[in-house]
């Protein structure tokens, strides 16, 4: 029977480093994705993810299962990401809003859903960039709420715990965030990807 995250963490507390490795394998990808979408830089996202795991490891002796492990994990991640975004705000203010957030060197290693033609790939890259910028344009807390809600599929109680707000406040936060995205992504909504819809492709 698979051990729960809490049990794994209690085993880490008891000195079992293999359990920590198990947690690392389980959460490194969701964490790096979440952090990448928060800070928009793969190198920074990886550094932050490492810092999150290191903090978890350092706190193992004091760990007590008072909340879900993921709530604790993503709370650390969110706080680190928010601090990182705030620290870099002044630096980013000097960059043109039209410039891509990442340099070519730090382009993420994205996983293509399938082999695409060049024109499809370009269209998809453009759409991805629009989505990425729309998410990045949200205020930090709204951004974190959307990422945890949409991509991590957490329930409201857990997200509220991570963001340290009430469920009611969270629901308003999410509404405002999706309202902004509704406006910003309207062109993409109006033009769905052809190959996804199965239309407009020569056979």
């Amino acid at each position: 029977m698979a051990r729960s995250d809490v049990q794994l963490m209690l085993d880490v507390k008891a000195g079992d480093d293999a359990s920590f490795d198990f947690l690392l394998q389980k959460y490194r990808s969701p964490l790096v994705n979440f952090l990448y979408r928060m800070v928009r830089d793969t190198a920074t996202a990886e550094d932050l993810a490492q810092e999150v795991f290191l903090r978890v490891y350092r706190a193992r002796k004091q760990y007590s299962p008072s909340a879900k492990f993921t709530t604790w994990l993503f709370r650390i991640a969110t706080n680190l990401a928010l601090n990182s975004v705030r620290d870099n705000r002044y630096q980013r203010m000097g960059i043109s809003l039209d410039a891509p957030a990442d340099g070519e060197d730090s382009a993420p290693r994205e996983l293509p859903a399938r082999e695409m033609r060049i024109d499809e790939h370009m269209i998809e890259r453009d759409r991805t960039e629009v989505i990425r910028r729309a998410i990045a344009s949200l205020p930090e807390k709204q951004r974190a709420a959307v990422l945890l809600h949409k991509y991590e599929e957490m329930d409201y109680g857990e997200i509220a715990g991570i963001l340290d707000c009430s469920e009611g406040a969270l629901k308003s936060l999410l509404f405002r965030a999706y309202e902004t995205l509704r406006v910003q992504l309207a062109p993409l909504v109006a033009q769905p990807v052809a190959h996804r819809a199965g239309e407009g492709r020569p056979s």
Binding site: R109, L111, T128, I131, R132, R182, P192
Partner: protein
């Protein structure tokens, strides 16, 4: 229900996490509000667009780097049982330092080193023979305490007049 009131319930309604009462309220509102109906439909489409975001994978060296950093962490030993937290350790160290400092404080009237026991015995004899302790009236007047010979000091000069006792 007004449009502003739907705000809190709309997202939970659309992702099917609203309870039955919330769902009923939103459904009733949407049935009579074309604007909110359109908004709800567009929210669904936005969620579909957001799913186009590709996932990123950690770099190949991520795990190795992480294990290296964990291995570099100081391993804790048996003494952790005594020092569960650094703050507690700091407090304990501070307490020990304070105790040592107080213990090393010179007495208010230091005697010659090596004569402490003799001085204490001398004081004890002096206190034992003090008739003043049996006199309650004198004790209530704190000035009488000035009669007490300070530890290690010279014996009170019998030739000096004693203000407190002579006044009684």
């Amino acid at each position: 229900m007004k449009c502003e009131e739907v705000e809190k319930g709309l997202v939970a309604y659309l992702d099917r996490r609203a309870n039955s009462a919330e769902r009923r309220d939103v459904e009733e509102h949407l049935a009579g509000c074309a604007a909110c109906r359109t908004r709800a439909e567009e929210f669904r489409k936005v969620w579909s667009v957001l799913e186009e975001m590709p996932t990123v994978e950690p770099s190949f060296g991520f795990d190795a780097r992480m294990r290296q950093r964990v291995a570099a962490e100081p391993q804790r030993g048996w003494f952790d049982w005594f020092v569960p937290q650094s703050r507690l350790a700091f407090s304990a160290a501070l307490l020990v330092a304070l105790t040592v400092w107080i213990a090393k404080l010179p007495p208010s009237n230091p005697g010659t080193p090596g004569t402490t026991t003799a001085t204490q015995q001398q004081d004890f004899n002096a206190i034992q023979n003090l008739g003043v302790l049996e006199n309650f009236d004198v004790v209530t007047k704190m000035d009488a305490l000035s009669d007490l010979a300070p530890a290690g000091a010279q014996q009170p000069d019998k030739s000096q007049p004693n203000d407190t006792t002579t006044n009684d």
